[in-house]
Amino acid sequence: MSQAEALAAPPALYTPHAAPRATDAAVELRLKSLHYGDFRAVRDVNLTIRRNAVTALIGPSGCGKSTVLRCINRMNDLVRGFRLDGEVRFRGRDIYDKAVDPVAVRRAIGMVFQQPNPFAMSVARNVTFGLKLNGVRDHLNERVEQALRGAALWDEVKDHLNKSALSLSGGQQQRLCIARAIATQPEVILMDEPCSAIDPIATLKIEELMTALKAKYTIVIVTHNLQQARRVADDTAFLYVDRSAGGRTGYLVESGPTAEFFANPREKPTQDYVAGAFG
């Protein structure tokens, strides 16, 4: 089955605790500290993100999940006063190296945000937006269809490709944002709580989608929902807040294959968090 066919096929029923398939790293985080101005938001995150796997970042609110995620495609560069000490290795180099163009990084590492954020344009133009930025102008119709199929949205919108994206439901908008992100075929897709603003059925669709998409992409997802992490993630990483010394600094407590992570958490904060969250 070709990649296009794989994407065109409806997402297969996913298996929870999918066995790890690939072992090589897509991204390696070696973060010493992340600052917003004088505020040290995150310290000590060493994490390997495996290729063609779903990695979930979990942890209490404010522990720095979004901050860490947004380091991976240099979105934090847009925040005034943000500073990073450490490195993020991708394709064999540190993306924070002076020679690296953040725009190029973001073309290789796509992002889906917490709030669906389609542009006030037609469905089709939303999908082609990133393609056009990359100078792709041929076979746009096929590419739109492929991306929308990949995001499990094609059947719902194929007759309204020229309708405004804002006329879609929240869940459809979020899947459109996923289609927009995969249209340019990035290597990695970052998702920051992609299901928090949508209903359970749409959530289920997006979860199935993630499992289907990892055949082709590497996915990193931030989620508050531990069940979701268990369902979709191959690896799980837990961040927690260190309140010693009067700060509120997030750090990586532990990470590992999801099944093992939930069955035998090694660290006390993880045990408490997992136990607390499951009542």
């Binding site: 495609n73 725009v103 973001r106 796509g110 709030q115 954020n117 930025l133 804002l166």
Partner: protein
């Protein structure tokens, strides 16, 4: 069963005072609204009344002929209509280009926040400068500064109608230039609000797809704010069409229309300002007619602008 309502507040009818206050406030609001409308209608009626003999006498010819000859009692405002539109279009085009650029610089993180606030204040201050001061500034600064450039352009490209004459003193280009500065605060303030209202999540989406800062601005932020920016330009146009003092000082008083950017010109408003003091009864009537035409143009611009805005709103709502 729910609990009883011991204080009786649910059942308490409005007191007489409540009713009186309500009624008088409604009356006040209605009266103010009616007064505002009446005032406009009154002014238009007044002008129309004064213009009526001239309208009867000259009819449509007034709009299509070019002579302004009080002694021969021949009046036509074609050059003034053309000049009004030409100078406004030029001034608003320049002012919009400049004003939207300033608005972009003020909203898209080009400046540190404190500098942003200062620059915003300075632009707003521009709207407090009286028209006559702009006129003087135009005469003593803008015209001398433009003259060498203009004359060089005439020498080189004199074959083109827009460079067809020399700039000897007052002329269209300095007038349009000063007009641009005068409409700048309007354009900037309104476009700034429109740009600032573009949700940050849309900019993030663009950046997340690998847009450069300019791509994000041109392809996402500006289109999203386009309605507000369009509104700003329509408003600026309304202001430019009626601007009198600065134009009377900078445009010269030629009573003829020229495509040359460097030739003196005329507009409906400057015609009225220049001719009124020495006009006899017949000419006053003709000037009133010119005023009516100006009013018509302003009204037309505003209605067309509103119409276009309303249509885009409807299209957008249909999409929601």
């Amino acid at each position: 069963m729910t609990r009883p309502d011991p204080t009786g507040t649910l059942a308490r009818p409005p007191t007489r005072f409540d009713k009186w206050a309500d009624r008088s406030f409604r009356g006040l609001a209605a009266t103010s609204a009616a007064l505002a409308v009446l005032l406009v209608v009154g002014i238009v009626a007044q002008i129309a009344g004064q213009a009526e003999p001239a309208v009867r006498e000259y009819g449509v010819d007034f709009l299509t002929t070019s002579k302004w000859d009080p002694s021969g009692k021949k009046f036509g405002v074609l050059p003034q209509i053309a000049g009004t539109l030409y100078s406004s279009v030029l001034g608003v085009a320049l002012g919009s280009l400049f004003g939207v650029t300033v608005a972009i610089v003020l909203t898209q993180d080009f400046l540190p926040p404190r500098l942003e606030a200062v620059a915003k204040g300075v632009v707003e201050l521009l709207s407090a400068v009286p028209s006559v001061v702009y006129g003087l500034w135009g005469i003593f600064v803008v015209i001398p500064a433009l003259r060498p450039l203009a004359n060089a352009a005439h020498e080189t490209f004199g074959a083109l109608p827009i460079f067809g004459t020399r700039l000897s003193g007052p002329g269209l280009l300095p007038a349009a230039f000063v007009l641009a500065i005068m409409v700048l605060p309007t354009v900037t303030a309104i476009s700034r609000d429109a740009l600032a209202a573009v949700p940050g999540k849309l900019r993030e989406a663009a950046f997340g797809l690998g847009a450069t800062r300019w791509e994000a601005i041109v392809k996402v932020v500006l289109p999203t704010a386009s309605r507000g920016i369009f509104g700003a330009i329509v408003l600026a146009f309304g202001r430019a069409v009626g601007e009198t003092m600065a134009l009377a000082m900078l445009l010269g008083n030629s009573n003829s229309f020229s495509w040359s950017l460097f030739a003196p010109g005329t507009t409906l408003a400057t015609l009225m300002a220049n001719q009124w003091p020495e006009s006899g009864a017949v000419e006053k009537g003709a000037l009133m007619y010119a005023g009516l035409v100006l009013l018509g143009i302003t009204l037309l611009i505003n209605s067309v602008g509103t119409l276009i805005l309303r249509r885009t709103v409807r299209v957008e709502e249909a999409h929601q």
